[in-house]
């Protein structure tokens, strides 16, 4: 056998071994990635969840006698507060009238009493009515089976009519599918600025 075929025979053995060694570095020597590392979990969330029952993103819908759709949503609700009222945090209630106009109510906290069909919104309550008037007040009582929303405290509002304040406010409709009225009582002060509108 001459030199050339000896080299070839030798390479026929050496090269596959080298390939094998190279391949094994891929698995044997490579860094271990440990797959079962625990997902980081804050203990405090666990405790607060365990302490009381809680509904996240609760959703309450219904239609009133007068044919308006009521939807109430919140980020969190804790059932059975005092007098089994469900209390919720940053509540968002929307009433859609039969002809599609909607009144939106947002508040930081609130409680819903399905047995009495009432909901009380408290904490920087903001109401956006169908014609774009934005009303702000402290507390708001809403009747869930009819359309009757009253705000006992003083109300400040801005809208197409200008900015105004009033003693109390009541949103209601007096007939089946009748128009929705908003009534401000106990003294109304309204400032309308024609210049602001023209610009």
């Amino acid at each position: 056998m001459d030199r050339y075929s000896r080299i070839v025979a030798y390479l026929k053995v050496a090269l596959p071994l080298a390939a094998l060694a190279l391949l094994s570095t891929l698995f044997l020597i490579s860094r271990r990635i440990e797959t079962d590392s625990a997902i980081p979990f804050a203990e405090v969330d666990l405790e607060s969840r365990l302490r009381g029952q809680q509904v996240t993103a609760p959703f309450f819908t219904g239609t009133t006698k007068t044919g308006h759709e009521v939807t109430i949503a919140a980020t969190k609700a804790l059932p059975g507060g005092e007098g089994n009222t469900a209390s919720a945090s940053d509540l968002e209630a929307e009433i859609r009238t039969s002809d599609g106009r909607s009144i939106l109510m947002l508040s930081d906290a609130g409680s819903v009493r399905p047995d009495k069909n009432t909901a009380v919104l408290t904490g920087n309550v903001r109401i956006i009515t169908a014609d774009g008037t934005r009303v702000e007040t402290e507390t708001l009582n809403a009747l869930l089976d009819g359309l009757e929303i009253t705000s006992p405290g003083t109300v400040t509002a801005t809208g197409p009519l200008g900015d105004f304040e009033a003693g109390t406010m009541r949103i209601f409709t007096n007939s089946q599918n009748g128009p929705v009225h908003i009534e401000f009582t106990d003294g109304v002060k309204l400032v309308y600025d024609p210049a602001k509108v023209e610009r």
Binding site: T97, D99, R101, I103, T129, A130, D131, T133, P160, L161, G162, F164, A166, P179, V180, H181, I182, E183, F184, T185, D186, G187, V188, K189, L190, V191, Y192, D193, P194, A195, V197, E198
Partner: protein, 142 residues
């Protein structure tokens, strides 16, 4: 035709803000009309208009007030002139107040009665028409 007379403080600029106070205000969500009831008082610059209730008619494009329709013992005071009537319609844009229903205008002592009076607040002149009558003070008057 009508009797022309100058009314109240001459140039009231009707683009000033309008302050409206009343006992209650009811807004109808459907057509957006608003009704102020219970001794309504409208103040704009020198002009003061008071009435039992006032209907606010909105502009067709929705924002801004087109006209204020005052009903029920309406009293318009501007400067030291005063005019009473049953109804008054105040169009804010062009500053005209149309008063109807036994209008009684009192100006510095003499009074003028008429069926209807149109006051242009920007120019300050008013025209009365319909059975205009006036009472001249008797010879002994001051």
């Amino acid at each position: 035709q009508g009797t022309g007379v100058s009314f109240g403080v001459l140039q009231t600029d009707t683009s000033q803000p309008v302050d409206i106070t009343s006992d209650n205000l009811s807004v109808n969500q459907e057509d957006g009309s608003a009704l102020l009831t219970g001794n309504v008082l409208i103040i704009q610059g020198e002009m003061r208009l008071s009435a039992d209730n006032v209907l606010v008619v909105r502009k067709t494009d929705g924002n801004g007030i087109e006209r204020l329709e005052a009903r029920g013992n309406v009293l318009l005071v501007s400067g030291e002139d005063a005019a009473e009537a049953r109804t008054a319609d105040y169009t804010i844009e062009n500053g005209t107040v149309v008063m109807r229903g036994d209008v009684l205008l009192t100006q510095k002592g003499n009074t003028l009665g008429a069926e209807q009076m149109t006051v242009n607040l920007t120019t300050g002149n008013a025209t009365l028409n319909g059975r205009v009558r006036t009472t001249l003070p008797g010879s002994g008057g001051d």
